[in-house]
Structure formats: C-alpha cells, structure tokens
Symmetry: C3
Subunit: 268 residues, 3 copies
C-alpha cells in the first residue's frame, strides 16, 4: 500500500493520457513540454465553442485561472460541464485566488462543481477555504502546515483531493493526509513549475481512472514525479536556465525506482 502510488507512472507512460489545459498564457508552452516529457499528451482547447466538446474526449482537464480573459472564463465553465458529463476528472488550480477579486468570485463559483483535485500553494488553499486573504500574486505567504485545516475543509466540501505545494507538499483527502518531501528550491526560479504540476495531476488522474489506484495516490504520484525530477535536475544544474532544461530531461528519464529513492512520503 505505502508505495502503491508509484505504479501510477507506469499507467501514464502506457496510456499517454490526453490532457486538456485551460491555463494561463504565460505557462502554456512549459506545461505542454512537461506533459510530453512525463509521458502525456497536451491539448490547449480553451475556447467556449470547443472546450466542452474536447473535455468529452480528453482523459483529464486542467482549469488554471492564472490569466483568464472573459472568453476563457466561458471556456472554463463549458469545459467543466463537458468533463463532468463525460466523467473526465478535472483539476482546479486557483492561481492567486484571494488576492484578486474577479478570479476569486469565479473560482468560488466553480469549486463546488466536483473537481477531482485542487492544487495550489498554501495561501491559495487558505483563501479558497475562506480562512485567509491570499498571498502576494503567485507567492504564498502562509506555510503549508497552516493550510492543513483549509485543505481538510476543501476536501470534505468537494469530495476531491486537495494538494498544497510548498517546501513539503501536503496531499489531503477526506480520510487521508500524506506529506511529501521532494523537490528543490530552484523549482521556484523557473516559471510554470507549479502550473505544470496541476496539468501533471490531471494526467495522472486520467491515466489511472480505470485502475484500482486511488485519486489520492494519483495526485501524490504526480507530485512525487515532479519533485524527484526537480531533485535530479539540481544534480545537473545550479542556475535557472540550465535547470529548466535539466528538469524536462529528468521528467522524461526518471523511473519508479529513482522516484522511490529520492522522495520521502509520510502518512499522517
């Protein structure tokens, strides 16, 4: 049981899940490259006219509210409806929620549409649970530990898995709390690593949907994959340009045994 989450990677690489990303325009390219390197296939169909149709054929959907235009908001609402109708798991990344009023209202309107997972930093999770005011732009000002109660509230309210990214990651379901120690501080100096993790989470949920791997383990595995790759990249590079390149290489090269030896997982 303790390591069963690790099997998820095999399913990602076997099934090449198609991940529909409705995400901010800053990170589209790196998100797509992360998915390709990890073993998934990206598609960014995010317009109102196509997003519902596409969500029915995708294996997973990411809703990331980083730079939403009015049209993309409509596309997100449509994609969620399409995903829920087709049974496609969708992941919510509530970027900078709490700090900005328009996106806060929008996210509050979709958080009860049964996301399979929510992934954010501590300040975003705290704000989304109504327990705090959010961070500074994309930077968290709360600790991951301080977000535990908020994560539990959200897990109960949505029925989904809630993941808090930070120095340690916290994965919370209604009946399970897991801490993950992995990654490297250099990940913060490359744009889009957090946003890509949301997409990778959708890939893992999609790839394991027809297996006996739980959504909790799928979310944990996505975080462990990126975290371990972040550690491997730090062995190759010590500045952010070459680190970004090494990170994509490591996402592609890392295997289950390397992940198991690099990350630490604690059930609480």
């Amino acid at each position: 049981m303790a390591n069963s989450y690790l099997d998820s990677l095999t399913f990602v690489r076997q099934n090449t899940p198609l991940v529909q990303c409705l995400t901010n325009s800053v990170v589209m390219q790196v998100t797509a490259n992360v998915l390709l390197a990890a073993g998934a296939t990206p598609a960014m169909a995010d317009t109102p006219t196509e997003s519902a149709e596409f969500a029915a054929v995708a294996n997973g959907v990411l809703i990331n509210v980083g730079t939403p235009s009015a049209e993309q908001y409509l596309g997100m609402t449509q994609a969620i409806q399409g995903a829920n109708k087709a049974g496609t798991p969708w992941v919510l990344d509530p970027v900078a929620v709490g700090g900005l009023s328009e996106r806060t209202r929008f996210v509050e309107g979709i958080v009860d549409k049964q996301p399979a997972a929510i992934r954010g930093n501590a300040s975003e999770i705290v704000a989304l649970a109504g327990l705090g005011a959010g961070g500074r732009g994309v930077d968290a000002t709360d600790s991951v530990e301080a977000a535990l109660e908020a994560a539990q509230l959200l897990a109960r309210a949505t029925g989904g898995v809630v993941a808090v990214s930070g120095e340690q990651d916290l994965i919370v379901s209604t009946n399970r709390i897991t801490w993950l120690r992995s990654g490297d501080p250099m990940l913060q100096l490359v744009i889009g690593t957090g946003c890509s993790l949301g997409a990778l989470t959708a890939a893992y949920l999609g790839a394991t949907a027809q297996t006996d791997i739980s959504a909790h383990d799928a979310v944990l595995a996505a975080h462990a994959h990126l975290g371990a790759a972040g550690q491997l990249a730090a062995q190759q590079a010590s500045a952010p340009g070459s680190y970004a390149v090494a990170l994509i290489d490591a996402l592609y090269e890392v295997d289950v045994h390397m992940i198991a030896s690099l990350v630490e997982v604690y059930e609480a």
Copy 2:
C-alpha cells in the same frame, strides 16, 4: 533539378523573410525562436485591427488554428484578405481539424482562399479533404501513406502545395509527389515542432517568391531544414529538454551540405 530545393536555404538567410504568424498561444515563443534560428524574422500581429495591414508588408503569413479565439478568427480572415491582396504567400496549418467542429467549419471556410501551402499531419489532411474524421487532438491516427489521395485532392482543389508530416513527410503538388525521409522521433516530444514547421514553410515561400525556385521545392526545403536539424539534435541530446535546445542550435548551424547528406528525397 533533384537538389535545387536546397538553394532555398541560401535565400532565407540572405533575405531574412518577415513571417507574420497567426498561431496558437502554446507555441508562439518556440515558433519565433525557430524562425530566428533558421534565418527569418517573426512577428505575431494577429488582431483584426492590424493583421491585414501587416500581411501587406510581411513576406509570408502562417494561419495556424490551434487555439483560436473569436478575435483571432477575425484576425485570420483579415490577414488572408490582406495577404491575397498583396500577393503574400500564406500557409494553412489545420491543427486538429476534423476532431473539433468549430475549427473544422472555420478551416473549411478559408481553405478555398488559395493558401500557397497546407501543412498538417495525416489525420488533419485526410479530414480536411473530407475523407476522414480527424485524429485525437493533435495526434494523427492515420498513416502518411493513407493521406496521399487526400493530399492530391487538396492540391488540385487549392492549386497549392500540400505537405503531410509524419515518419516520412509527403509533399504534393498537382503534378509532383515527393517523399522526404528526415527528422527524429524525439521531435514529437517537444511542443511546437510541427507548428513551427508551418511557420518555417511560410518563411521559405516568402524568401523564394522572387526566385525561380518552385513553391514545391520551397516547401520541401523547409521540411528538410527542420528534419535535418532534428537529426543533428539527436546526436547531441537524448531527452526532450536538452533536445529542444539542440534543435534550435541545429536550425542555426545546419548548412546546405549537411542537409543534403542527412535527408533522403524521393520523387514518386
């Protein structure tokens, strides 16, 4: 004759063609870097208020329907009008056509506006010719061989060159069929290599418009340039992060002699 297409590269590097890209937001950055490395200059003027005006000064125009917003659709229609009025060659990349209804309708409405070239994967070309249903998102589910009839239909209908990307590339005009063996499987693991090839095709068409190089040879040369660079990159890198870097380097460094020795061209 057999190798005359190779001269096109010289014209690209001498003329620095200005390529207007109306393309999806996922690949804008990599497309621009591919053009710069190859010897062209990118500009992404894609709004309805500017795209026709810009198409008149550009040397080539790319219309890639990967993530079209309503406003970008208008911009594309304007750019095509501006290009045709000014005699600027434009290239159609019908991303995921067939699989999604809105973009399929849009592409069907512009394919008869005389694109100088159409570039897509086998499933897109088959769907565009009305012979199949399209692939899975951006992935082809038809073989290049199976797209030959569709490419010929489209070449006759549009009067332009039709290029099918795949394990081997197929370049088709009304009176000529050329097969190109080049590239490397790793190209599939870097986002935007196909989309960039559409932009590079526009660069080659623009750079050779005033020469005696045929449009068929210009399209072939663009594919050979990217394919050869893909092979050179594979000699440098075996994972997608470093491969993407090596690919841009190779696009810049490759010369006519290296291309001639790396790729295989067959006239059918």
Copy 3:
C-alpha cells in the same frame, strides 16, 4: 556617482520586486523567466477586471503593446490608472509603433500618462516622438544615434527616462544622456530579449523607488544587467538555443563586480 547605478542590483535581489507584465503573448514565458533569474517576481494580470487592482500592489508595471487584443488594451488602460493612483512606476514598450496604425493610436493615447520609463528600439522611439515612420515589424531601421533627438523630446514631454536599445544603448532624461556599451549580437536571435528588458526595467524602478537611486540610474542598471548577462552567455554558447539557456543562467549568476568589468558607460 559614476557607478552608483550598480547598487540597484542589490535592491532588486533584496526586495524581489513584484512586476506586473501586460505584454505580448509571444514573450510572456521568457519574460517571466528573465525576471525570476534576475531576482524579481513576475505576474501577468492583464485583464480589465483585475489589472488596476493588481497595479496597486505591484512594485512595477510593464505595458508592452506587442500583440494587444481589444481586451488587453482595456486592461492596459486600467493598469496605468491603477499604477498612477498607487504611485507604482510603469514602463512603456511601444513595440512596432509607427509601423501599425491601431497600436500607434493606442500608444499615442497613453504616452502622456506619465510613464516612468519608455524603452524601445531606435525606430520605435523616433516614431513615437513623431519624427519618423517606424521600422519593419520589430526590427529597427534607424540607428540609435539618430534617435537621440527623439529620446530627448520624449523625455521632456513625459518627464520620464527614455531608453533606446541597439548596438549601444542610450539612456536619456531631461538633464542627462548616458551611453551604454554592452550585450552581444546573439541577443537578437532569441525572442523576447528586448521585451524582457522592458520588464526588467520595471523591476529595477520598483526595487529602487524608496531609495536615493535615481530613475535614470535604475533604468541604466537594468540595461547593464541584461547586457552583461548577454556577454557572459556569449562566452558559453555560440548558437541561439544554448545561448538562450546561458542568458538566463547569466542573469542569475552575474554580480555587480562582473557587470562593472563587462559593460562600458559614458555620460555625454
């Protein structure tokens, strides 16, 4: 005095200025990575509903009109109002102004809203001052020397600092003219280096706003930081793919002493 501008880098790294970028979609990712590598934090809040609100908490704002949609135009107008109300310095990058009529009208409508700095190539600065017709897309067709008069006109009209990028950079205030010799020709072959310099200028202005460093020195320092990094990168790489990676590394690794030894500054 002569080298006081160099102290600005220390403030950037100490204060991690939050830079709101309303910029073109081609360069968002590289701009964000440049800011992170240099010591700042990026945020791309550019919609009309959020941009004014965000400009009040940001330390600096970039307005880059490279691929403006109608919605982003509104967002820019809002952001400028929010920035001016909150006293947040904002930087104008008038990409391709003069050459395209819609953006030229838009830029003419905001240039008198007190930008702390304007950064462009020679043709853009000349066109913005009403002294010429602009360049070819993003390429300058005027020399930096020829833009001196235009820069002085704009500095007097706006009260801000005007920076002209080129083989040598020119930094102009109402009472000061500085020439900077730095950089490397390879910078032209990586997309977004000029646009990122606009964002970096906003970072430097924001980080030094509460210090006794002048806006002129802050702008100069941003240019020297990128220019020196460009020189360091050229020692590592001779093709644009690896050069782009080395540039980000160098932005992160370069220190005040290296900058001082790499660049040449002349007061005119």
